[in-house]
Symmetry: C2
Subunit: 145 residues, 2 copies
């Protein structure tokens, strides 16, 4: 009844962005500000139906260049900040290096989505796109800081 | 420079929940209301440091029982609603069947996290846990409905 030891995931597309090295990439989406393009595998274009510009989307990525996972990390890679548990951070060096970024959809043309707020490196694999749904994606009470 | 054809992901733990069949599982987290437990592989317990009860967390799961992916689905599986693009829905039958659920942490004890709002079936594999960060996980403008 337990889970398999592992599962296989297959990119549905890639990010095209101005960031070609980890040093250039901003730490989190909103700081990116600029635009990126998601190039979907053409076979998945039909699954975009109904997504209109202005919508917010979750983009799940695979951090293909992430370091080996660690149990503790410095928040935002800042060595002056005390180590904390990896799962208390958004650091990419995770057991499964999955990225989660909220983006705003600017345009859809065929298999290309132009989005705002995606911090990923050029050619980062994209695993999934989901609509942002306020009723399930926001805390119902104020989060504890 | 393109992505690999596939990547391997390895569960960091499993959900223990009252839902043993897909028919019983609620469609989305907040409807679950009740509690579930995430049993982490003991080796990852140290990565929980800093997560206190009351915090909101993203839980990324693998829908191990999902159907084959489809390009178009009826929202919430309701055949009376018109088909729409898969990426415009949160349906589990995705090319990479990854689940994203916002939960509230109720308790941590060793490798067990008790959470509220996790809709997953018993023994659903857990791939990642991330902190909810309002500054990056909320739209900066009102979403378009």
């Amino acid at each position: 009844m337990g889970p398999q030891n592992s599962y296989s995931v297959t990119p549905i597309g890639v990010v095209r962005s101005p960031y070609v090295s980890r040093r250039e990439a901003p730490k989190q989406g909103p700081e990116a500000g600029g635009e990126a393009v998601i190039e979907l595998e053409p076979g998945w274009s039909g699954a975009l139906q109904g997504l209109e510009p202005g919508r917010y989307l979750w983009v799940l990525t695979y951090f293909h260049l992430a370091d080996q996972p660690r149990l503790k990390v410095h928040p935002r890679g800042d060595a002056s900040r005390p180590l904390t548990g990896l799962f208390n951070t958004r650091a990419p060096s995770r057991p499964n290096p999955l990225g989660l970024t909220l983006v705003r959809l600017l345009a859809v043309a065929g298999n290309r989505l132009t989005v705002c707020g995606l911090e990923a490196l050029d050619f980062t694999p994209v695993l999934d796109i989901k609509p942002y749904v306020p009723g399930i994606d926001q805390p119902r009470e104020a989060p504890v800081p």
